[in-house]
């Protein structure tokens, strides 16, 4: 088990390395000149040469990449040995062309808002998706099932920017029940945090609970036909025990898998949700960086999302071992 974990972590690191190389390569092949982008409006040829030297853009691509990687692990120093020496401690992802802030600081700054959206919404969609899926499966073919699956299909077809804006119009602009969505620290202002996050949570959960409802329903119906559920009935167990213990336990594995990957993906930035509600999270950071061609920030956010997806994958695999005794024994 332990060696398995080590192997997974090592392969995760390798994947991250590949992702970084690809992103790094693509952006430095782009026709846009990073030095010019970094230079701003009052720019001269002289300044560009200087910036090029400062950002070490005058080095070859492999050297640049090597220093970039070195920066992540041990930190790096720009303009070493001069007066303007700049120490970027590990993990160093460089500086934003736009704001000159270290990318790592930006990421750290934006993570709480994204994490708030991801965790809050995931609790909501799990609750709604699982319960409606279970009810649908148990009442298969009745109007309850048809209605809930109809709503689920509708919800899954609607887009976040539609649902989000409609909800915001109703609850913020018309009814004024909720403040304009945004982010405040859950530790300092827990109530404000919850109120401001409510709409992003509901919007995201609206879409995802529909998917989870259908997934749960399908899984439950499949397992209900299994021999071991018939055995459970033959033992004289109550319907409650049969459905919630034996059937749900059999159906939960694929749901956990998808959940892990969804959560991992969201932690890298709930791009559309953040954009719609103007929430300063990682998704907003990356869209802003893309529109400004802020290369270090783009690389940083891409690697950060890749990092979360890889971690989520490893956790899902570990969870498999907990959920499925056959995997555990091997």
């Amino acid at each position: 088990m332990f060696s398995y974990l080590i192997r997974r972590v090592v392969s995760g690191v390798v994947v991250l390395g590949i992702v970084s190389a690809i992103v790094f390569g693509i952006f430095f092949i782009l026709p846009a000149d990073p030095a010019r982008l970094s230079c701003g409006k009052t720019c001269s040829e002289e300044l560009i040469v200087k910036i090029r030297h400062t950002l070490e853009l005058d080095q070859t691509l492999p050297v640049q990449y090597g220093r970039f990687i070195k920066g992540i692990f041990v930190g790096r120093t720009y303009l070493g040995g001069t007066e303007a020496e700049l120490n970027c401690s590990a993990p160093c992802l460089g500086y934003s062309f736009q704001t000159d802030q270290p990318v790592t600081a930006l990421l750290k700054d934006r993570l709480p808002a994204t994490a708030s959206i991801a965790f809050g919404a995931s609790i909501l969609w799990l609750l709604i998706g699982l319960s409606s899926g279970i009810v649908s499966a148990l009442r298969r073919g009745t109007w309850v099932d048809k209605m809930s699956q109809g709503v689920a299909l509708g919800a899954a077809s609607l887009q976040i920017y539609f649902v989000g804006l409609v909800l915001q119009f109703i609850f913020v602009n018309k009814l004024a029940w909720l403040p304009t969505p945004g982010y405040s620290s859950p530790f300092q202002y827990p109530l404000d945090w919850a109120k401001q996050m409510a709409l992003p949570w509901i919007t995201l959960a609206f879409l995802l609970s529909a998917i989870y409802s259908r997934l749960t329903r399908a899984g439950m119906i499949e397992i209900m036909g299994e021999d071991y559920v018939r055995t459970a009935r033959a033992k004289g167990l109550s319907n409650r025990t049969i459905n919630l213990k034996h059937t749900l336990r059999g159906a939960i594995t694929p749901i956990v898998t998808v959940f892990g990957l969804d959560l991992g993906g969201l932690l890298g930035g709930a791009v559309i949700t953040e954009y719609v509600f103007n929430i300063p999270g990682l998704g907003k950071l990356s869209t802003d960086a893309v529109s400004n061609l802020d290369l270090p920030v783009i690389i940083g956010t891409v690697m950060f999302s890749a990092f979360f997806i890889i971690i989520a994958n490893i956790l899902v695999d570990l969870l498999y071992a907990v959920l499925d005794p056959k995997v555990r024994i091997q």
């Binding site: 299994e226 021999d227 071991y228 018939r230 055995t231 459970a232 009935r233 033959a234 033992k235 004289g236 167990l237 109550s238 025990t241 034996h246 336990r249 059999g250 959920l323 499925d324 005794p325 056959k326 024994i329």
Partner: protein, 341 residues
């Protein structure tokens, strides 16, 4: 002695898109305490559907069940689900064909046996686990204290079937239905399981319904035998009567198709021609007539009228559903069937 189990005019039908499928049609049989009834038939003959009906497991499905299933005089079929549930696993229980599929893959064997005991007995989890260990020991699992925490996939095929039996017997049921308990097992393991069932039956005075298509197993264990074809019983009597002097052409076919060590290796086996009918379009009259070699001896009745289930002679407990005259049947049996048995 009054019968512990009485099944009267049991019919089970399932509505399908192609119409109502009669999986079991007017079935009647009885079983005394401590005795074994073998129900034999091909796939789709209604054996398993019958056994599920006795456990009341069609309740809550689309199946229509009519008739009476009396256990100790209580009618299972008219009883509400919440009352039948308390009898399942307690008064009557069932072991299934494929133990690997019938055991939950994510719970330990001990957990599953203890659960069966806990649901009908007000005891602590610890006591229930001890009961599980005791039952595993009773069905011959070595080192039961260690194996109780194993998962089903860590058991061998034979051990899994033993664990199923342990689970089914954990509440000392009066009736055990074994649905092809040995089909998925090696021949040597089959014999062990059958021996185990026999021992346990003696010990607990359990009545057993053994569902199988293996005549050898029935001959070894059952007291009575019920032959089913297309949802109907076609021959019913003691094992001695039915296996030594079968009266139905289907029974003849079954018995003469068994290869024998003493037989001539160059002689072809007498297989029954054709295939079992689909329940959606059961042949008119006697459902077996398209495959029967003796239709010419009766005439049109075979394809137009369903023969009644009648004693082979007045007062006999050996019942058969066939249009052949009993004298003709005797004659065919003596001249054509007996020599090849």
């Amino acid at each position: 002695m009054s019968n512990f189990l009485e099944v009267k005019d049991l019919s089970v039908s399932f509505p399908t898109e192609d119409g109502l499928v009669k999986a079991v049609d007017n079935l009647s049989f009885s079983l005394e305490k401590g005795k074994t009834l073998g129900i034999v038939g091909e796939s789709g003959s209604g054996k398993s559907v019958t056994s599920l009906a006795i456990l009341g497991l069609h309740k809550g499905s689309t199946a229509e069940v009519t008739g009476e299933i009396l256990i100790n005089g209580q009618d299972i079929n008219s009883m509400p689900e919440n009352e039948v549930r308390l009898l399942r696993g307690n008064l009557m229980s069932m072991i299934f064909q494929d133990a690997l599929a019938a055991l939950h893959p994510y719970y330990t064997v001990g957990n599953q046996i203890a659960e069966a005991y806990l649901v009908h007995n007000k005891v602590s989890k610890k006591v229930a686990k001890e009961r599980a260990i005791e039952m595993l020991d009773r069905v011959g699992i070595p080192e039961p204290k260690k194996r109780v925490d194993d998962f089903p996939h860590q058991f061998s095929g034979g051990m899994r079937q033993r664990a199923m039996i342990a689970m089914a017997l954990s509440c000392n049921p009066s009736l055990l239905i074994a649905d092809e308990p040995t089909t998925a097992l090696d021949v040597t393991v089959q014999a062990q399981i059958i021996d185990l069932l026999r021992d346990l039956q003696k010990e607990f005075n359990t009545s057993i319904i053994l569902i199988t298509h293996d005549l050898g197993v029935v001959a070894e264990t059952a007291d009575d035998i019920l032959l089913m074809y297309a949802g109907k019983e076609i021959e019913y009597g003691t094992v001695r009567d039915v296996l030594q002097k079968p009266q139905h052409p289907y029974g003849w076919g079954l018995l003469t198709s068994i290869p024998r060590l003493t037989g001539d290796p160059n002689k072809n086996l007498l297989a029954i021609a054709g295939t079992p009918p689909s329940l959606i379009s059961v042949p008119s009259g006697c459902a077996f007539h398209p495959r029967c070699s003796y239709v010419t001896q009766v005439g049109s009745a075979c394809s137009s009228a369903i023969p009644e289930l009648l004693p082979i002679h007045s007062g006999a407990h050996h019942l058969v559903r066939c249009h052949l005259e009993s004298s003709v049947r005797e004659d065919i049996f003596r001249t054509q069937v007996e020599p090849s048995l």
